[in-house]
Structure formats: C-alpha cells, structure tokens
C-alpha cells in the first residue's frame, strides 16, 4: 500500500514539474514583460516583427495622426459640453437630439480616422503581421471596448 501511494505521489509530482516546464517554455516572456510595463511600443515591435525601418516609419505615421487625434478629442469634448448643457437647461427634445447626433457623428468620424490610421500602420508591416495587427485592432475599435483598459486615466486629455 505504501508503495502504491509513493508511486502515485511521485507521478503526480513529476507531472506537475513537467507541466510547469511546458508552461515556462510556451510562455512569451517578452510579451508578458511588455504587458506588465504597459509598454505598447515594445510589444508592437516584438510581436509584429518590425525592422528598425518599419518601426521608424510607423512612429512617423503615429506622429502625423496625433495632430488629428488632438483635434478630434477637442471637438468631441466641445460637442459633449454643448449636449450636457442643453440636457440640463432645455426640456424640449429637439435641440437635445441634435446635440446628441452631433456627438455621435463626431464619434463616427473618430472611429473612421482611427480605422484608417491602423490600416496605414498595417500597410507598413509584413503582410501576415499586418493582417494579424488588423485582426486585433479593428474589432476593438468597432466595439470601442478598450475604453475600460486597466491603465486608463479617465481625465487624461492631450
């Protein structure tokens, strides 16, 4: 009986060690380190196998996009303020609906601009990496479910 228990314990221990080794070997440590640091640029470079030239070109595209991002952000904030002010002051639904529509339209414009931007970035990557990048980004942009990211600073603006 004691040998049965010992043998079973030995096998369980050996399997646990083997499973842990498989886990460690299958882990993407660079990806995990980037996630822990919140270093999206490092991840982008590693995960999509960017060369120095590709990385530099993507940074240029990002810089160019940053300007329109600031402008879109400002427009949305203004439209939101107008809508909120109307909601507080006016009881008639007409102006409130128009203000709400303006916010929606601006949001749609932003979504399109961001979609075009990530498509430009994808075009700078190798074909397969670009496809993978778009497959990760486009659904999130459309669903807008990255707004609750763990490190999101709610009051941050450009």
């Amino acid at each position: 009986m004691k040998y049965l228990v010992s043998t079973l314990a030995l096998i369980v221990l050996g399997a646990a060690i083997f499973g842990f080794v498989c886990y460690r070997l299958s882990c993407d440590s660079a990806l995990h380190a980037a996630a822990e640091k919140g270093d999206a640029w490092h991840w982008l470079r590693q995960d999509f196998h960017l060369t120095d030239q590709q990385f530099a070109a993507i940074q240029v595209v990002h810089q160019a996009y940053a300007g329109s991002c600031v402008e879109h952000c400002r427009l949305i904030q203004e439209a939101t303020k107008v809508r909120d002010a109307l909601t507080a002051k006016t009881s008639s639904p007409g102006p409130r609906a128009a203000a709400e529509l303006a916010v929606k339209e601006l949001r749609s414009v932003c979504e399109q601009a961001l979609t075009v931007h990530v498509q430009k970035v994808a075009a700078l990557m190798a074909a397969e990496d670009g496809r993978r990048y778009l497959a990760l980004m486009l659904p999130k942009i459309a669903a807008f479910d990255h707004a609750t990211a763990p490190d999101l600073q709610m009051n941050h603006t450009h």
Binding site: I11, G19, V21, A143
Partner: protein, 103 residues
C-alpha cells in the same frame, strides 16, 4: 401412496469431508508475510510496470497540455491588455471621455 425415501438426501446427510491437514500452510503464510515486509519499491513496481508506465505517460500528457494551454491563455490576456493600452493612447473618443457606446 407412500413417498419413497430420497437416496440423494440420505447420501448428503451421511457425507463427511475430512481434508488432510497441511502442516506447511502456517509456515508458508508466515514466510510470505516476512518476504513481503522486505520487498523493495522495485519489487513492487516490476509486476505493475505497464500500468504505472501508462499512468505516468497519461499524467505527463495532461500536465503538458495544461501547461501549454495556461501559457496560451496568459499570452492572450497580455495581448488584450497591450492592445487596449495601445488603442487608448490613439483613440480620441477615449481621450475625450466617452466611455461607452451610446445608442
């Protein structure tokens, strides 16, 4: 009408079993107990080798699959966090404080 006596019943009633006593039985049992007390792990494993080998292979297979699956899930979660971090920095809707899609 009288019922004839059942010869089988009579025979069974008269049947007596008297096996010869095995004088070696008791020493043999003790000898076996003493032997098993000195068995090594190898002595135990030898007759059960196939069963234990199969068990070990199955356990390692399950452990390897579990380990790999855990690593894949962790990578997926890490990537999810990074994509969100990346998009948060790019999306004017987030920067402007729109936190959900309104109908």
């Amino acid at each position: 009408m009288t019922i004839p006596p059942d010869s089988l019943t009579e025979r069974l009633r008269a049947w007596r079993v008297s096996p010869p006593a095995d004088s070696a039985f008791r020493p043999q049992v003790w000898a076996r107990l003493r032997r098993s007390a000195h068995d090594t792990w190898a002595d135990y494993l030898r007759p059960h080798a196939v069963v234990w080998l199969f068990t070990a292979i199955a356990a390692c297979g399950i452990a390897a699959y579990t380990g790999r699956t855990a690593a894949v899930i962790r990578a997926r979660m890490d990537r999810e966090v990074l994509v969100s971090t990346y998009l948060v920095a790019l999306d004017p809707r987030v920067q402007a404080g729109l936190l959900s899609i309104q109908p």
